[in-house]
Structure formats: structure tokens, C-alpha cells
């Protein structure tokens, strides 16, 4: 930096530091803008993850089935599972539906992996306990209400397999499942018990997976599964993924809109402060021009001051924004958010641009000041 540039920088710094009241007013405006901007952008960047986690409570978002009317081969399901990112997979359970009877009354028995079901369907509410021993089962709330199949009792489940061979097995009912949906009309047992009872294993009707991924990523994953394991069809649970995408889009749009409003308010605040500064410093501007300063040089000095205010205010505001984002994330989503430090220089850059743009009108005013008039005190 040559001597003149260093001196110009000194002029700008001294102008700000030795006139603290104006500096603080401008800094406060920029910093508050930066706090909200940084906080909102941080939340926006984190919203998809927050939303995915929230929406996982509504059940699986990816379903696997056999091609056409064929049942799903569990070996193929295993291959498909190998294509799913382990760190994004919350749970995956096969579901096998069989028509069964108890005391001649027909029911639908569903074979599942109970440990995985608790992850893919966190909305299932069980009174009693979850089955953890062989030949234990859950009954749907509607069945428990309308039959003798109740928690604590034993039930003989019988039926015929596809080979028309009869089977029968005693199950202990250890809990009642309530979801408010179709599940309330089913019997739930471990898939391994269902296989033993029917004598047919290695197949399921479908499988449900819950992944912390967005709709686009799930679509890519489904296409990849289809390409790699052709006998398996992967489909998105659109009522979940669409709701998630819609809610996320609306909330993100709202947050960006608020961010734009905040930027506009910051710009008005800085422009007003800079205009006051120009009016207060009319004599100084007149003097500089009388000493031979060109209009563009005077303008540059004010723009540099604006940029410094934006830079410092942006930095301080970003630090405040880290705290602001944490408070919002904790109070709204009940979790701590990882600070996105790369947003600090980005926020500072935005605030520098905002401050410089906001300074343009006051600077134009400064350029129009006639030295002879202001030095006479007019």
C-alpha cells in the first residue's frame, strides 16, 4: 500500500473512530441487519435437515416392492438396502401380509421386524409392550376392541399357505397397537414367526424405509435401486415427501422474503445515517474540494467509510447471528445447530455491498456541494 492509500485509509478510520456517535449508529444498524440475516440464512441452510428429522415422525418415505405382482425377494431387498446411505438410513422393515383366522374369524397378519418398525413408524403407539420373544404379537386397537384378542391373552392363529397346507400356531398377545389408521385392524408378529408358521420364507409384500433425505435425493436413490436391482421397484411415499417439500419451500421462501426486507431496512438505516453524516460534514467536504479534491475522490472516501461500516458491522452482526440462530433452533426445533462459519465472510460481503449501495445517494449529495457556499457558512 503506498503512502497515499495508507493515508486515505487513516482518514476513513479516524473519521469513524473519532466521531463515535455516528459510527455507533451506523454500526448498530448494519450489525442488527447482519444478526438477522446471518441467523435466517443459517436456519434456512439447516431447515431441510430439521424438516427431514421432523417428518420422519410421520413414517417411511421410501417403499420397496416386487416387480409387477411378484412378491419381494428378501435377498433382493438386502441388495437394495446395500445401495442406501447407511448414515441416512433410520430404519428398514419388510412387511408380509397373510390372511389368517382365529376361531374361524378372518384377520390379516403382518410380519415385520419390530426393532426396525419402531424406527420407520415412530407414530405407532403400543400399550403393553413390544414383542421380544418368539411367537408374541400385537393386536390392532380395533381388533382388541371388538374381539377376545386382548393384551395378556393367547390366540391360536391358523390358515392355509399358498400350497394349501394348513398351519396353526399359538401366539401370546403382549400389546395393543394404535395408529388411528389401517394398522388398527391388523395382527402384527415377527416376520420370522410368520415364516415359521406358514412354512414359507424369504419373501415379503413390501418393505418400508425411512431415510433423512429430501425428495430429489430419494428420487435419485430409487432410480439407482431400480437400475441396480431390476426385480425391486422403489417408490417414494409421495404424501410424505410432497408435504415435506411443500412445507420446506414455503418456509424457505418466507425466510428469504424476511431476509430481503431486513436488507432493505438496513439499507434505509445506513442511507439515513450517511445522509446525516454528509449534512454534518458539509464544511469538511467543501474544504476538501477547495483544497483540490475531485468529486470522485470525495465520493470514494465516503464509499470507503460505508464499506468499513459494512465490514465491521457485518462481522459483529455475524457473531450475534450465530447466537441468534442457536436460540431459534433450540426453541423452535429443540436442538443445537452446528454454526455455519463459512456464512460469516458471506454475510460480511453482503453487508459491505448493502452499506456501499446505501451510501450512493448521500455520496451523490456530497459531490454536489459547492465549496464556496459551505465555506461561507451557507
Amino acid at each position: 500500500m503506498n503512502k497515499n492509500k495508507a493515508f486515505a485509509f487513516r482518514l476513513a478510520i479516524f473519521s469513524l473512530i473519532r466521531r463515535r456517535s455516528r459510527l455507533l449508529a451506523a454500526l448498530l444498524g448494519v450489525a442488527l441487519g447482519a444478526v438477522v440475516l446471518f441467523g435466517l440464512i443459517s436456519l434456512c441452510r439447516d431447515l431441510p435437515r430439521q424438516f427431514r428429522d421432523e417428518f420422519r415422525a410421520y413414517g417411511a418415505n421410501l417403499v420397496f416392492a416386487g416387480l409387477g405382482s411378484a412378491r419381494l425377494d428378501l435377498n433382493d431387498l438386502k441388495k437394495a438396502k446395500g445401495l442406501l446411505p447407511p448414515n441416512k438410513l433410520l430404519g428398514l422393515t419388510p412387511l408380509r401380509y397373510e390372511s389368517v383366522r382365529n376361531r374361524l374369524r378372518p384377520y390379516v397378519a403382518v410380519g415385520v421386524d419390530f426393532a426396525q418398525s419402531q424406527k420407520t413408524s415412530p407414530f405407532w403407539r403400543v400399550t403393553g409392550r413390544w414383542p421380544n420373544e418368539p411367537f408374541e404379537m400385537l393386536v390392532g386397537a380395533d381388533i382388541a376392541l371388538n374381539s377376545d384378542l386382548k393384551e395378556g391373552s393367547f390366540a391360536t392363529i391358523d390358515g392355509r399357505n399358498p400350497n394349501q397346507e394348513r398351519y396353526a400356531k399359538d401366539f401370546r398377545i403382549v400389546g395393543t397397537l394404535a395408529t388411528g389408521g389401517v394398522e388398527d385392524g391388523f395382527l402384527f408378529m415377527a416376520l420370522a414367526d410368520l415364516e415359521k408358521m406358514t412354512g414359507i420364507s424369504g419373501v415379503a409384500d413390501l418393505a418400508e424405509a425411512s431415510l433423512t433425505l429430501g425428495a430429489d435425493e430419494l428420487k435419485t436413490l430409487a432410480a439407482n435401486v431400480k437400475a441396480t436391482v431390476p426385480s425391486v421397484e422403489a417408490r417414494l411415499v409421495t404424501r410424505i415427501t410432497d408435504s415435506e417439500t411443500n412445507a420446506l419451500t414455503k418456509l424457505t421462501s418466507l425466510v428469504y422474503l424476511v431476509a430481503v426486507v431486513i436488507l432493505a431496512l438496513t439499507m434505509i438505516c445506513v442511507a439515513t445515517t450517511m445522509m446525516t453524516v454528509v449534512l454534518e460534514r458539509r464544511k469538511e467536504i467543501g474544504l476538501k474540494k477547495a483544497l483540490g479534491a475531485e468529486n470522485n475522490r470525495v465520493a470514494r472516501e465516503f464509499l470507503v467509510e460505508g464499506a468499513i461500516v459494512g465490514f465491521v458491522g457485518g462481522f459483529l452482526g455475524s457473531l450475534g447471528g450465530v447466537v441468534f440462530a442457536q436460540i431459534v433452533a433450540y426453541n423452535v426445533f429443540g436442538r443445537v445447530m452446528t454454526p455455519r462459519l463459512y456464512l460469516i465472510p458471506l454475510t460480511m460481503l453482503v453487508m459491505v455491498i448493502v452499506a456501499v449501495v446505501a451510501s450512493r445517494s448521500p455520496v451523490k449529495k456530497a459531490s454536489g456541494i459547492e465549496p464556496a457556499l459551505v465555506l461561507k457558512g451557507e
Binding site: K3, L11, F14, K288, A290, L291, K376
Partner: protein, 236 residues
């Protein structure tokens, strides 16, 4: 004789008000000229035109061989920067800069800042030890001397001083006059607007304006300008 300033039939009109009427004047290089006259006589208007802060409505001004009338806004700014040193009655120091930095501001707009040279300029006006003080920490006389140091730092060909001692006590007035005399002795042209006959007495030449007209032009400071009324009668 080499004239640094030639004013030829200059008039300045603001709306209905005629500030200068058909004024002609030449100022040789190295002369100390005092401009006197009552309020509203056109002294400051003349200073502003010579200082390239304003332009005449009619007439021609040639400063250091350049016709100011044909120069652009940027050209006039360049003349102010390169050739003119300004001293104001109200000092007009930048309040958040030290005495040294106020002098360096003039260097900054002129060419390159040089702290040592700025310190020398302050030493020349007796303020070497007060270089790091802000204007509010300086007396009126000291502030005016900083203003003088700022005016002379770029070695201007012409120094324009508008009531330079108007806000000073007698001691500081003499100090400032002494500095201006030294500058004149070194070849600078000095034009001082003043109400004070004591100040005008230091000049090589005194002109008196009244209602925008030149009513007296006297070379030599020995003869006092007794009062403006007399001067006006003499012109008539």
C-alpha cells in the same frame, strides 16, 4: 512585469445583485495585495473568482497564464490544487484530524503525503510541538497557523487569505502577518481580504472595493487608508 493574475473587465451578477462591476486588475508575481472594502463590496466574490471557487458572469481572469474561463470544473479544481493556497477566517480545520493530519490532507489531494515535510511546515509556523493535537485542543491563533501551514505545504504560487486575522488576538495577528511576510519574501504572491487597516498596512499594495467597483488602488503601504468613506470620495 510578470503578472500572475490578470483580471479584465470582470462582472459577477447573482440574480438582481451585481457583486462585481467591470473590474480590471493585474497582480505581479510576488506582490502582497490587500483588498479592503465594506461588507457587500464584492471582496469575497473577487477572492472566490481568483480562487477558482466561482466564475465571473462577464470578463476574463488569467491566473498564472491560464484563462480560467475556458477551464472545466475539473480544470479549475486542478488549479486550486496546484497553484493556490487558501487561508480562511474560520480556519476550517477538519475536527477529527490532528494538526499534522490537517496539513497532510492538502498534500494528499495535491500529490503524495510526506509526514516530515508536513512537520516542517508546522515547525515553520511554530507548531512543531503541537502537531499531534486535535483542533479543539489548539487556541484560535494556533488553529490559524495550522491553516497557514496547510496553505503553504504545496508551495502554491498564490496564497489567498480571507480575513486571516479576523478571529485572532494582537499577538497571533502579528505572528500570522510575519509568516505571510516571509512567504512574500520567498516569492509567493499573497492576496489578503481584510477589514483591518493594520493588516492592510503590511501589504505592498491596497485596493478598495465598494459596491463591486474598484474605488482605490494604491501601491505602497506607507500611506494609510484612513477610512473607506475617504477612499470612495477619492475614487469619485
Amino acid at each position: 512585469m510578470n503578472h500572475i493574475l490578470e483580471i479584465d473587465n470582470v462582472s459577477k451578477i447573482y440574480g438582481q445583485v451585481v457583486a462585481l462591476r467591470d473590474l480590471s486588475l493585474t497582480v505581479p508575481q510576488g506582490q502582497w495585495l490587500a483588498i479592503m472594502g465594506p461588507s457587500g463590496s464584492g471582496k469575497t466574490t473577487l477572492m472566490n473568482i481568483v480562487g477558482c471557487l466561482d466564475s465571473p458572469t462577464v470578463g476574463q481572469v488569467i491566473l498564472d497564464g491560464l484563462n480560467l474561463g475556458v477551464l472545466s470544473h475539473a480544470g479549475l479544481t486542478a488549479i486550486r490544487r496546484e497553484s493556490i493556497g487558501l487561508i480562511f477566517q474560520e480556519f476550517h480545520l477538519i475536527p477529527y484530524l490532528t494538526a499534522l493530519e490537517n496539513v497532510m490532507v492538502a498534500q494528499y489531494y495535491h500529490s503524495l503525503v510526506d509526514e516530515n515535510e508536513a512537520l516542517e511546515a508546522l515547525a515553520r509556523v511554530g507548531l512543531r510541538e503541537r502537531a499531534r493535537h486535535l483542533p479543539k485542543q489548539l487556541s484560535g491563533g494556533e488553529q490559524q497557523r495550522v491553516c497557514v501551514a496547510r496553505a503553504l505545504i504545496n508551495h502554491p504560487k498564490i496564497i489567498l487569505a480571507d480575513e486571516p486575522t479576523g478571529n485572532l488576538d494582537e499577538t497571533n495577528e502579528l505572528l500570522v502577518m510575519d509568516i505571510l511576510r516571509q512567504l512574500r519574501d520567498q516569492g509567493s504572491t499573497i492576496i489578503v481580504v481584510t477589514h483591518a487597516q493594520e493588516v492592510a498596512a503590511h501589504a505592498d499594495r491596497v485596493i478598495v472595493l465598494e459596491h463591486g467597483r474598484l474605488v482605490q488602488d494604491r501601491v505602497g503601504a506607507k500611506e494609510r487608508v484612513d477610512n473607506l468613506e475617504t477612499a470612495s470620495l477619492m475614487a469619485g
